[in-house]
């Protein structure tokens, strides 16, 4: 950690050397440790101290981007010069709106000292306890436990001076028996929020309950999708549908459907980076304040998220969802997607199912088959169960689903009032917050041998 004053001073000093019309510097620094375990022992254990410094310079309507991971003054100035040289070498982008002006950021508590101080030995001892829960039952445990601390700072020549320190702790675990497996996970800004023993019990219990799974023929079933399964669906819908690029290209399932009812009115989905209970973050990678954006409101398609460039094309304003400049060609993306909770207690969800399937988690979902119709395919894993007359009967062998999520969400029966945070690859600045969902109809198209 460099600290707010020292870091902004350093970035300002480099900014002062720029000869471009406009200049932006983004600093993303991270100390990251991850302890990975499988077959009930730690087999990979890593520590990393790294940063990225991204320069975006503007000459008229010409934009250049260059990045380095060296904080040495000479390297920073060289990278700044490189970005100016790149801007000079390219044609004007008439759609470029200029760099954003300064905005007001919500004060958010995103840093936890205890999490930042977590050592490899502390992680190892936690993992040891998690493994012990599986060992007691004669099972093995696999997973990964990571902790990180970092800081993100953005300065630009139009007055943006944003800084936010962050921490994150994340664990996933898979309990394994000869014939079954069970999964649990958690993510938070604070280690103290995570009940490791309770999580291990969930994974162990699922493994135990799904032993000797029976085969079930594919077909149309009622399903209970637990939060990890919902999160994987939502991450794909986000990638293919809630961003500005897919919307403006016409490949999003929301394109040409704004204002139309596309799912059950029980479904409300929005992006909100400002909720301190989740992995909150106050600004995007252009330094624009994050706004809450309604994507689907009671089943009606509402909007998508924008960065400053896509906003010009969309004749709207940035919603604060820009990615780092090196990834800007992907368009804006929601990093804090929330599926609004419902009113049904999670404990009562299963009792409403006559004959259906409980899905703990999906594997390898792909949503590129038919993005306009939000068609996804993927496999179940780590705890798939048959439910009959409101009770879990037994574990079943994994199934492949292939279905339009707009179609499936039209059949929503109930949504749990409890939600869970699920980690994503961008967990330093966001995560997915999702409840358990009961769908009346979900199409399974294939099966496998385990």
């Amino acid at each position: 950690m460099i600290g707010k004053e020292k870091l902004l001073k350093k970035l300002d000093s480099v900014l002062a050397h720029s000869t471009a019309d406009q200049t932006e510097i983004v600093y993303i620094g991270d100390e990251f440790g991850l302890t990975r375990f499988a077959n009930s022992f730690i087999h990979q254990n890593v520590y990393e101290n790294n940063c990225r410094i991204l320069f975006r310079t503007v000459l008229g309507k010409r934009v250049g981007v260059a990045s380095t991971n060296s904080l040495i003054d000479a390297d920073l100035r060289q990278t700044l010069d490189n970005s100016i040289e790149i801007a000079r070498s390219r044609a004007e982008n008439p759609k470029f709106p200029g760099l954003p002006k300064a905005g007001k950021y919500k004060q958010l508590a995103t840093f936890d000292k205890a999490t930042a101080r977590c050592t490899p030995m502390l992680r190892a001892k936690t993992v040891q306890k998690v493994i012990a829960e599986a060992t007691k039952q004669g099972f093995t445990m696999a997973g990964a436990y990571s902790t990180s601390s970092g800081e993100i700072a953005i300065v630009n020549s139009r007055g943006v001076r944003a800084y936010q320190p962050v921490t994150a702790a994340s664990i996933n675990m898979v309990t394994m028996s000869e014939t079954s497996s069970g999964y649990a996970s958690a993510v938070s800004r604070r280690i103290s929020d995570i009940d490791f023993k309770a999580l291990a019990k969930i994974a162990v219990d699922k493994c135990k309950l799904s032993r000797n799974p029976q085969a079930l023929e594919p077909g149309e079933y009622e399903v209970i999708l637990e939060p990890a399964a919902v999160a994987e669906v939502i991450e794909w819908l986000n990638y293919t549908g809630f961003g500005s690029k897919s919307f403006q290209q016409g490949t999003s399932f929301l394109a040409s459907r704004i204002g139309r009812k596309i799912t059950s009115e029980k479904i409300t989905i929005y992006d909100n980076a400002l909720d301190s209970k989740a992995i909150a973050f106050p600004f995007d990678f252009e330094g624009v304040p994050k706004k809450k954006v309604m994507l689907i409101d009671k089943g009606v398609a509402k909007s998508v998220v924008y960065d400053s460039i896509a906003a010009i094309k969309g004749k709207t304003k940035s919603t604060g969802h820009a990615l780092p400049a090196t990834e800007s060609a992907e368009g804006a993306l929601g990093l804090n997607i929330v599926v609004a909770p419902g009113k049904t207690p999670r404990a009562k969800m299963i009792s409403g199912v006559k004959r259906g399937i409980l899905v703990t988690r999906f594997h390898y979902i792909n949503g590129l088959i038919d993005t306009r119709n939000s068609v996804l395919t993927g496999m179940t894993r780590d705890g798939t169960f048959l439910i009959e007359n409101g009770e879990i009967k037994y574990g079943i062998k994994n199934l492949r689903f292939t279905d339009s999520m707009m179609r499936a969400f039209k059949s929503t029966v109930a949504i749990s009032k409890e939600s869970q945070l699920i980690a994503a690859w961008w967990s330093s600045v966001g995560c997915v917050s999702v409840p358990t969902i009961h769908l009346g109809s979900f199409k399974f198209s294939g099966k496998t041998d385990f």
Partner: protein, 480 residues
């Protein structure tokens, strides 16, 4: 840098570690993307750092830093040692490394023209011309063309005396057009979907693609797909194009032969493998004409190198011989389990990641057919062209692929176009239904630059040699 790292190696040796290695990597990247004839993004990125791996108390530790001062490097060496000691809290059996002679060598990938020396204007000009052609149809909603270049310098030192330097240049390019009629959207790409093709070669690789020559066809096929019939639901014969075969090999052969997956150490994220140890040398993976190898020595292959990130020399390994499963991809800490030496597949996607088992160039060897003869020999079926979607279970058995475009095959000729085509199967059943593979004239090594594995995630550049291939009794069309 070498002297500083040698001091770290000596310090670690003095601490009594079983083994240690240091990797210095400097990676330079240029990425250009043109959207609808406007430069959408153009960036140059430099990433430099050192990763140190330590085997102590029978366990691995790893630490990496971007700060390259002598003090920080020594601190990182100590951090790696402390991480290894923490790993020992849950130790079962100590890590055993396969024997390996320490090489002192220099490797350079083949490159006729350094892509970083090609003027940016020349690259942008070509991409703009491509999107100009792609946009010449009202229903083309967007057209994107991109190039990506990497120049990677590596230094590897170990306590065993290895001292290896490598210089690898990679070049890639591709484009796609999205057609939209207000109701649906269809995409067509060249030379492959998801970013095109790439290789450990120079600018000449991009020139050989003849990007501009295919833009008109891509545009017209994207528009035609809007009106195409949906792929029927049936069990039929399919012929899969070379690039899609590359991904088929990748998902259903390349991943399940990774020995770390087989041993369960990737289970929580990527999953395991149906190719358990008892199947080695016994399982009939495919039909008699199926021969698959892993070959890191193919000049220009995206999965080619001189040495892996454990200092093991690049090599060619048989995986499937006449349909029989005969080999895994291994590293020094997994090969002893099957009483072998490493076959050199341990790679990291940067200085800040540990090496893990990765595909090299995993190739389906060519057969004897010409594509024309193969289609003519097929009375009824579907030709599947370029990947659109991919999914496979966590043991790599049940797979489903979608393709950008398909054509009916009727009485030995290509017929009407199909959209939203998918096919699905179970890996060994599918490969045992393979009855024809096109010859070397149709065989090409296709780069796959987005292979994800590991925690933290590592994105690896790998490749697959493949030619159009025919399979019988395949289930197609389950996308509705």
């Amino acid at each position: 840098m070498k002297d500083k790292l040698k001091e770290c190696i000596e310090w670690l040796r003095g601490k009594g570690v079983t083994y240690a290695d240091c990797r210095y990597i400097r990676k330079e990247n240029e990425a250009i993307r043109v959207s609808d004839s406007v430069v959408d993004s153009l960036s140059r990125n430099i990433d430099v750092g050192v990763g140190m791996r330590v085997l102590a108390d029978g366990c691995w530790g790893f630490a990496a830093t971007a700060i390259l001062t002598p003090a920080e490097l020594m601190k990182t060496a100590n951090q790696a040692l402390q991480v290894a000691k923490a790993s020992a809290v849950t130790k079962h059996d100590p890590v055993v490394l396969a024997e390996q002679e320490p090489f002192v060598d220099f490797y350079q990938s083949p490159c006729v023209r350094d892509p970083f020396a090609v003027p940016t204007e020349e690259k942008i000009g070509l991409l703009i011309k491509v999107t100009d052609v792609l946009k010449k149809a009202k229903k083309i909603k967007s057209a994107e063309a991109a190039m990506n270049f990497f120049k990677t310098s590596k230094l590897f030192l170990s306590t065993e005396g290895a001292d290896i330097e490598q210089e690898i240049i990679e070049s890639g390019a591709g484009y796609h057009a999205v057609a939209f009629d207000g109701k649906e959207a269809q995409t067509r790409s060249y030379p492959n979907s998801h970013g095109g093709d790439c290789a450990t070669r120079g600018w000449e690789f991009v020139e050989e693609m003849q990007l501009l020559n295919h833009a008109e066809r891509v545009r017209e096929e994207a528009v035609a797909l809007l009106q195409a019939a949906p792929c029927p639901d049936e069990v039929t014969t399919i012929i899969i194009c070379g690039p899609q075969m590359a991904l088929q090999v990748h998902e259903s052969c390349g991943h399940p032969i990774e020995l770390d997956r087989v041993l369960g150490t990737e289970i929580s994220l990527a999953g395991g493998s149906f190719l358990s140890l008892d199947k080695l040398g016994k399982l009939k993976y495919g039909s008699d004409i199926v021969n698959i190898n892993a070959d890191a020595t193919i000049p220009g292959g995206l999965g080619s190198f001189g040495y892996d990130d454990e200092g093991v020399k690049a090599q060619r390994t048989p995986i499937v011989e006449r349909g029989l499963f005969v080999g895994y991809l291994t590293g020094r800490d997994t090969a002893p389990v099957i009483k072998q030496r490493s076959n050199g597949t341990m790679r990291a996607d940067g200085w800040n990641r540990i090496p893990i088992i990765r595909m090299t160039n995993v190739n389906l060897e060519p057969g004897e057919w010409t594509l024309g003869n193969l289609i003519a020999d097929t009375e009824r079926g579907i030709f599947m062209d370029l990947n659109k979607s991919w999914s496979i279970d966590d043991k790599r058995l049940n797979f489903q692929f979608g393709v950008e475009c398909a054509w009916e095959i009727k009485n030995g000729k290509l017929g009407q176009m199909y959209k939203n085509a998918v096919y699905t199967g179970i890996t060994p059943e599918f490969w045992n239904s393979c009855d024809a593979i096109c010859n070397r004239d149709h065989w090409q090594v296709w780069g796959v630059a987005n292979c994800g594995k590991g925690e933290p995630m590592q994105t690896m550049h790998v490749a697959h040699g493949a030619a159009p291939t025919r399979f019988r009794n395949v289930k197609v069309g389950v996308s509705k």
